[in-house]
Symmetry: C2
Subunit: 262 residues, 2 copies
């Protein structure tokens, strides 16, 4: 590209992790990318569809040193000044806990065009894995996606629980390691100890694991292995399981390659 003629940045949702839960649009944009700046959690089998691209891991993982947000913003602007097509690949949906606004602000300030490709967010992937509806007609008319984590990755106060109730479904993101204390916060706020809880680790991936319990049981915690976990909490949930879980795995390379190249 000539100097001063910026490329375009595509914020792309990678979905929960299984390659076939990418959207068709995401697959195509990835296949045409010159550079992909991706979160650390995006699996290798998704990244390999960005065949022509330079891959740059920029994502943060809890409790591990990683690139700061300003470094990511700068890398994005720099990439768009040198390449026609830059993908910023984020786990799940870019609009949910993706710091999308900060990265867009950096691009706007630099005069770089951008576009967002939505993805399947963790709440939907976890619900599918566990065979749950997040709403129930006439009863659960609300789904609240919330994280107890603050900017510094720590549980600093309980205000994340303000206004929640056990009838609307609550989906906790980034709470795997603080599940026990989150359960106590909800119990302290009047949730019943028998409220159903479904914990889904690594939804859609081969290491997917689903646990059914109650809020009282959640006080013992769950998976403490640093894998992504979504916690579904609410009266709309049931002890109901899909007959056969479809797990992610390798797919024939030919068809996706042809799709992506089209």
């Amino acid at each position: 590209l000539p100097a001063g003629c910026p490329g375009k940045v595509w914020f792309v949702g990678a979905g929960p992790g299984s390659e076939d839960l990418l959207t068709v649009r995401a697959l195509r944009v990835l296949a045409r990318a010159d550079v992909v700046l991706h979160d650390a959690l995006v699996p290798a089998q998704i990244l390999r569809w960005a065949r022509a691209a330079v891959l740059v891991a920029v994502g943060k993982r809890c409790d591990r040193p990683s690139a700061g947000q300003r470094d990511i913003d700068r890398a994005l602007v720099a990439a768009a000044r040198r390449h026609a097509s830059v993908v910023r690949l984020k786990g799940g949906d870019p609009a949910v806990f993706g710091r999308l606004d900060e990265e867009i602000d950096a691009l706007q300030a630099a005069g770089i065009p951008w576009e967002v490709v939505p993805g399947v967010t963790a709440a939907s992937a976890a619900a599918a894995a566990a065979g749950q509806s997040l709403t129930r007609r006439g009863d659960a008319r609300r789904v609240t996606i919330v994280t107890p984590r603050t900017g510094r990755g720590q549980l600093d106060n309980d205000c994340w629980a303000d206004g929640l109730d056990e009838h609307g479904t609550v989906v906790l993101y980034m709470a795997g390691r603080v599940a026990a204390s989150c359960a106590q916060v909800l119990l302290d706020r009047g949730f019943g100890p028998d409220v159903p809880v479904v914990a889904v680790r690594a939804a859609s991936l081969p290491r997917q694991d689903v646990r059914w319990t109650t809020l009282a049981g959640m006080r013992s915690g769950f998976f403490d292995d640093g894998q992504p976990v979504a916690l579904l909490i609410g009266r709309a949930l049931a002890d109901r399981r899909p007959a056969a879980a479809h797990r992610g795995g390798p797919h024939p390379a030919r068809d996706l390659a042809e799709l992506a190249a089209s």
Copy 2:
């Protein structure tokens, strides 16, 4: 299939409407279906990928006569008793306002296996169309998807607004025609009149339309044409627009056909 040997039902999220916002898994499951029972809002260009299937429109649209839920449940069970692969195709994500639990209960009662394929929900599609992040670090740690509609399609009370606040992002589904009264309810509950609102009609489709306003402006209402509308409300939103909107439209048939057949 021999009598008494049921097929399998796939609950599949069709996403917001654009064909390329289907997941790869959804495309493949559709292509192999024998019967597809679909919501009325699923566009024809998505349905045509179910080439081998009998298509049955069963979805409800507000204010129009349509199949009752029990009829849908019965049709689903009957289809699974006659065919190996039945798809129940729902707009957006099946777990969000899809009455998925009722249909699963009917299948469980009949001993029919089922599985859920998640999709891109309207909140994510609307946020992408409008270039919005639904969360903001250190401020908006919550996204609440909620509908003011009850079982009978009417606004019967204001309890949908319980516990909401202007810092967490609120996404109203199925509220296009009652936007003005919803705005008043939120104002009455202490939301500021200057809280940003983004209304997205038909996200991802050629007739997509995005309007930026405030809660005070929302009292005038929006699109009153029966198209699906998502209303994004909260302090995390900004008057920020993607440089170039990617609109859904026809794609080369060859590549999707090959992908779907694989």
